[in-house]
Symmetry: C2
Subunit: 447 residues, 2 copies
Amino acid sequence: MFTDLYELTMSQAFFRQGMSATATFSLFTRTYPPNRAYFVSAGLEDVLDYLSNLNFSGRAIDYLRAMGIFSDDFLEFLRGVRFTGSVRAIPEGRLYFTDEPAVEITAPLIEAQLVETFIINQVNLQSMLATKAARCVWAAQGRGIADFASRRTQGTDAALKMARASYIAGFSSTSNVLAASIYGMPPAGTMAHSFISSFPSELDAFRAYAASFPTRTVLLVDTYDTIAGTWNAVQVAKEMEADGHHLTAIRLDSGDFDQLSRQVRKILDDSGLDHVKILASGGLDEYELETLVNNGAPIDLFGVGTKAGVSADAPWSDMAYKLVCFDGRPVMKLSPDKVSLPGAKQVYRTKHSSGMFAKDIIALDDEELPGGLPLLEEVMKDGRRTGPPTALEDVRMRFQEDFSDLDERFKVLKNPPRFPVSVSGKLERLTAEVREKALGVNVSDSD
Amino acid sequence: MFTDLYELTMSQAFFRQGMSATATFSLFTRTYPPNRAYFVSAGLEDVLDYLSNLNFSGRAIDYLRAMGIFSDDFLEFLRGVRFTGSVRAIPEGRLYFTDEPAVEITAPLIEAQLVETFIINQVNLQSMLATKAARCVWAAQGRGIADFASRRTQGTDAALKMARASYIAGFSSTSNVLAASIYGMPPAGTMAHSFISSFPSELDAFRAYAASFPTRTVLLVDTYDTIAGTWNAVQVAKEMEADGHHLTAIRLDSGDFDQLSRQVRKILDDSGLDHVKILASGGLDEYELETLVNNGAPIDLFGVGTKAGVSADAPWSDMAYKLVCFDGRPVMKLSPDKVSLPGAKQVYRTKHSSGMFAKDIIALDDEELPGGLPLLEEVMKDGRRTGPPTALEDVRMRFQEDFSDLDERFKVLKNPPRFPVSVSGKLERLTAEVREKALGVNVSDSD
């Protein structure tokens, strides 16, 4: 029942008209959010889980019956609905671009219609978060990044998906323990200001933490004053060394990170603690990371939270799930600025001899474009997955491979150029034909 | 386990130090997101449910043990953890302002610390969405608004919470069937472009829908061309009238809504269909609604989706959960721009004789400010709710009452003035004292 009411009302109308033929829907994004020139595919695993388990419980049917607008025969039909169709998709971790279908669903019309809400919701969110995370990883130039976003993501589902999506794009860990346990990722975490405040003094707090976690102590130094806190950390680090342990890192969480990290690095180095790392967190996003890294701030690790976890500079994208073929007939939409390409599709990626991406070509599913790598893979057939889920580590690897083959100029954080994507001649001709026909039937009489 | 790892590592350090005394944490927002001058309280119900059910499963304990950083005695302690504390909160639906605690948790330190992640996540999200929705309702000046956001919210949890939060703030319905069934709200929905495209012509699609839902037909007219679509809708409306039914509304979903709504209104009126309403949806937020309504566009109903569902112009807020008292000792944080007020608090609201809000005063919990209405109410004691949940309709009513008592100048959509909030003399003195003391212990030695 995580669906929009209109999926159900449309389905009843289809049911009443006996429209049970096969439909293909295409999930794609029309335009780039600000400063984006690529998307990272993510969310497919949840889509496949959802489709594998699609059904309406007796309680759901009772609720719908009580609404008084659905017929008994339709509700009985709904009770038996399962997803029996096929799914072709760009695998998670791969890069894709505007207009390219991330997922194509081919199934009996009602089945394909009913699943719209969940599919857009998940792929939109997860691709958006993975893309934001990829930008952070790029800006960090090799420094580790931990996902600290759980407290400020838009809900619990987003927190879990942020952990997974950011790991795909190269984050090193997540603070969310549930996400770490579900997805088999490394969990990470240190202490909050409340920990420090609970003790009579900062020094007492640092000592207590070091006593509990002698092999993985990261001390938060800004509760009262970052420099004074660093001196307290130095004192505790010395006490730890006397016991044969090393302080792992200190964490900056407010103030001017560039200036503070240099002051703190000097204090640590002058105290013989050059092995103690500096972690910075608090309000960071890819733009801040880029500035800090380019300026040479001696920060070893970043904790990235709120702004990445809500994709703050681009919290939504224009992702749509559009009918492109019904009963063998290619269809499209002509609404202003919302035109869609008709027909089931394939995306071919061509590469330079260096291995770098050259351009993508959106073609019809039954076309073959020699020399192009087809991006859409069949991942579900007759309602069953065609193979086991890809291990998260492999998805992460797939992203790394794709990302390293994308020219750097598309990765710049501000106003990147557009990656070249074209439409095959055959698809272009079909689009013109379907457009003509739709206009002829639906519009010209009234002009 | 929906918690940050640091809640657990801090808890182990507290456990090891025998720090089991009572702590009070305060949940508040330091600064307004852009263009905001108030917050709508929402999320408390989920907090109370969560606290009522707090526990770590055997599987969770096993997972934590396998991490190899937690001691067996702490893990055994964790297995038995329940929430046994008390909660004071500003009830859902009420307005509140910066620095005012929306929720205060008082409990044994570890219990109060462990719940941080979930509490911030939910109250932050739900207050943010309710506030965004309140802005839309204000801009719509009495026109009905349906929540159409589910496809584009940041995850499934956010979709459900958007439905509820926007209903609190005055939306009329939600498109999300699951949300409607869980929260007992009116569901709403019509048709998507794919419905139209599935049929050989738009006219066929309209007829099929009308046949299935003769008493609640809303026709989407922009799939090919809005004006031509309206003429098709007129034709179907006439056919419905012949059968004794009325077309409910037509829906615009793209283009210039101001201009199109006037053209479409004229076509409908000239066709004797002045009872047919006009619904507009597609990219709308409070700023667009205000412009359309102020310009007098003849739109009767709005469907609001993406931008409201992600609070697009302010997708995050600076909400924090800070320790304010431990073992009878008031505490605070001094980090730059992140200073917190010490001590358990009460917020008193004073009103003008007209009933309009005059100002709020943040005071200590044990102060009495004659003439002020205390906003924080005890909603949980000894780990149990002090009463049944407030019915959603009553929360909605509470919002309406509060909102009508807030001067219009704080509701303007751009650059509103700040609502006056002051700090009691006693709290001000305590803040100075605690600050002095913290600086004395933690900072001055190293300056």
